[in-house]
Symmetry: C2
Subunit: 462 residues, 2 copies
């Protein structure tokens, strides 16, 4: 039991401070590989004012603070690797305002993404970012990692939806970063500096988000390609034709196969000669609007050998397909593919990337499965090795990843499209950033958090 | 003649260094009110390597560097208020690559916005941001101010189009800020930190920009409202109906009247009972696609008293209308309205803002004319006073602006939507940012430019 526990109990009440074994174990891990790091204490404040008090105290006593949102992170951003306190924002769970005149929602950091979507539904509105984890990930964590999602192709990643943030700084001051406006050229863009900063610069407590009118209808196409490389090439062709899908996902055979085996019911029969699927969604305000988009898609695809295209236009079929896609990562992990990468390249480089990933895995006696947001050039890869369950501090795996990331950098890509850097990708930043660039990042961290109390050991290489 | 001129002549050649009176006079002003500040020397390097040498020298000798792009700024960002050198990027004028597979363009900082648009045209592509100044403003300056434009409603401001930047840092190091990808959660978002930093953190030399498929057709509606307030209210109604215009501009009567008088030919007859116009553009791939959008717009507007709506669907008529809109600022300035503000509020607050601006002007014995990007809540206001031509260091005008900005802040808005802070808006930042916020901005500046050689005296309050 840390000697500073009395302070937190007095501030928050004993019912919001936890140092029992079960709690420490629960907050020692998230969705990152099989890693565990126990904190000394878990605290659950209810608002920015309490967080400000906590931060001031920790700043004075040099206690590391690891902020935790929904705990769905994959890169170790929320793991308390240096002990100290885990600060969970789960009690900051209020949707403060839905402004249907200005198309803005103000929410606390602990609101679950899907809860916000549901709250907007009755107004005919929606919030763009929809990470696969939307059923449990929090808006605060989405912002801290600049989470993407399935419809980022059309509606952008989290960065595009964040207008203004309330943040508790490492000195305990509470600030708003910007203004509640669609445009803003007023000072340095602190809002976007905090987006994706993974709890290393401060604690996000509230956000003003841009919301949108929800299109009245949508349609989903599942296209089974005979050749994996063709599916990746077709992605570029879709955009060159002028189509703007709402989502454009790629799942290679192995991803779909594993996922189908775990689902109780499904309507997909996987043909033997199919190597990959594209899952495409178009949204719009009428069936008449969507019809020509479907026709155009078919026109683009017809040059490639495929099985019959499956169309889903009713809610049950569509939900089944998208739930399937959302579950891939989780199920593939259960099957032993514990190491997930979040590669991103210029879209037309996808065929090269997929080819390289398979060659690399084979060379390293591993299996790999690729899936993800092909429309954004953002491909997830999960690796499976008979002996290794983690990449963390594994020199063999890390040597392989280094080779992968060097290739990606050569393609104009980078090492994370939407998951962040956290603990696991930190050693690889020098592959994609020059020394001079990293020095700027370090100096920014030092300028804002000089005592390095905010999520120490994450994002910035040592 | 400064004593360090020999260094620059040796580095760049005498044909790229200027200290004659005419050059110093030319580079002493841009489009900011009637302000003039002469530099000691004007230099025109040709690439990042030369700029790196210049910056290293200036860093050592403590020589202020004011970077200049197209010289169309309105807030004094490019004025060399502390002397030193003006570094013009006009020779960095190459479009390096148009990547039609990945929808990216790589350009040097001195490329004129409209030249890029023209270069993309043959490929059926376009670059979203289209500030009114696009005929002469440079991409580098657009990025440094996070410029907006007429189609920002649909396609976003400059920030949304910038994927990666080459920057010369204050220590002379050349870095790339990010990656050439649509998504990126890799480290702090240095790219967006440099967007809108107005030359205070480094010199942008190259940019990788997101480009888009150009819609095949578009249509413009000019709607003459009897009441100014109705026009502002209708803006909100358009978005609530689910419509997504490409542009949605407001011009109050006075703005249009003054502009029409200066144009040689026009097809608009301004009816006596009209107080404001909305100018709306929809783009799409077919006339059939646009027709229902027009009908819906008419349906939304019909609740308000208007004169007959004017439709422009041929190139000549459309260009005439949009050229008219683009010329408003320039012509209104010629007519003595020298003080331009760049207010931005949550969209539905526009009626309140317009009303307040007129009351405030009247109270201060001034005239005001409002126009701008109503679809984004971004309203330009030009003020005219019989005695004062500048707001700079004018206590009476600044007292009025303070009142305006305090009101805007109260509405959830801020003091610049797309022009930046530069010299003129700097004193007003404490209205919209707390002390703790401004301290973070100052510390970031200090962390990146510790000797304060990059555009000193701009953006950050003293």
């Amino acid at each position: 039991m840390p000697d500073y526990i009395e302070f937190f109990i007095e501030l928050l009440g004993p019912e919001h401070c936890f140092n029992d074994e079960q709690s420490l174990e629960y907050y020692s891990h998230d969705h990152t590989e099989n890693l565990r790091f126990k904190p000394s204490l878990v605290v659950k404040p209810k608002n920015a004012e309490e967080i400000s008090q906590i931060v001031k105290f920790c700043n004075e006593k040099n206690i590391p603070i690891t902020t935790r949102s929904g705990g769905t992170g994959l890169m170790g951003g929320a793991l308390p690797i240096n002990g100290g306190i885990v600060l969970s924002v789960e009690r900051l769970n209020k949707i403060i305002d839905i402004d249907t005149q200005n198309f803005q929602a103000t929410v606390e950091a602990g609101v679950i993404n899907f809860q916000l979507q549901q709250a907007l539904e009755p107004y005919g509105l929606f919030y763009g970012p929809d990470p696969s984890s939307w059923g449990s990930s929090y808006i605060g964590g989405n912002i801290a990692t600049n989470a993407g999602g399935l419809r980022a192709v059309k509606y952008g990643v989290t960065a595009a939806a964040v207008l203004n943030l309330e943040v508790v700084l490492p000195n305990g001051e509470i600030i708003w970063t910007g203004a509640n406006t669609l445009k803003n050229s007023t000072g340095y863009n602190l809002t976007q500096l905090f987006v994706g900063s993974e709890g290393t610069l401060g604690i996000i407590t509230k956000a003003v988000l841009k919301i949108l009118t929800k299109p009245k209808t949508d349609i989903t196409l599942l296209i089974p390609f005979h050749h994996l490389e063709d599916s990746a090439k077709a992605v570029t062709e879709v955009f060159k034709s002028g189509l703007i899908p709402c989502s454009l996902e790629l799942m290679e055979r192995n991803a779909l196969e594993q996922t189908l085996l775990h689902l109780e019911e499904n309507s997909i029969s996987l043909q033997k000669n199919v190597q990959a699927h594209l899952l495409i969604n178009f949204d719009g305000n009428s069936h008449e609007e969507l019809l020509p988009l479907m026709e155009k898609t078919i026109d683009v695809i017809k040059h490639y050998p495929t099985e019959e295209i499956y169309f889903a236009d009713n809610e049950i079929d569509k939900n089944r397909l998208w739930e399937l896609r959302r579950k891939v990562s989780e199920i593939v992990k259960l099957n032993g593919y514990t190491i997930e990468e979040d590669t991103v390249v210029p879209r037309a480089k996808l065929p090269d990337l997929i080819k390289f990933a398979h060659q690399l895995a084979e060379k390293n006696n591993m299996k790999v499965v690729c899936y993800g947001h092909a429309g954004d050039g953002n491909l997830h890869m999960r690796f499976n090795h008979p002996e290794y369950k983690n990449s963390y501090q594994n020199p063999n795996i890390n040597a392989m990843l280094k080779e992968l990331f060097e290739y990606i950098h050569m393609l104009g890509g980078t090492i994370s499209g939407e998951h962040g850097i956290g603990l696991l990708q930190k050693p690889f930043l020098p592959i994609v950033f020059s020394k001079a660039n990293l020095l700027i990042q370090k100096n920014i961290k030092k300028a804002i958090d000089p005592k390095n109390i905010m999520n120490p050991g994450k994002l910035i290489p040592d």
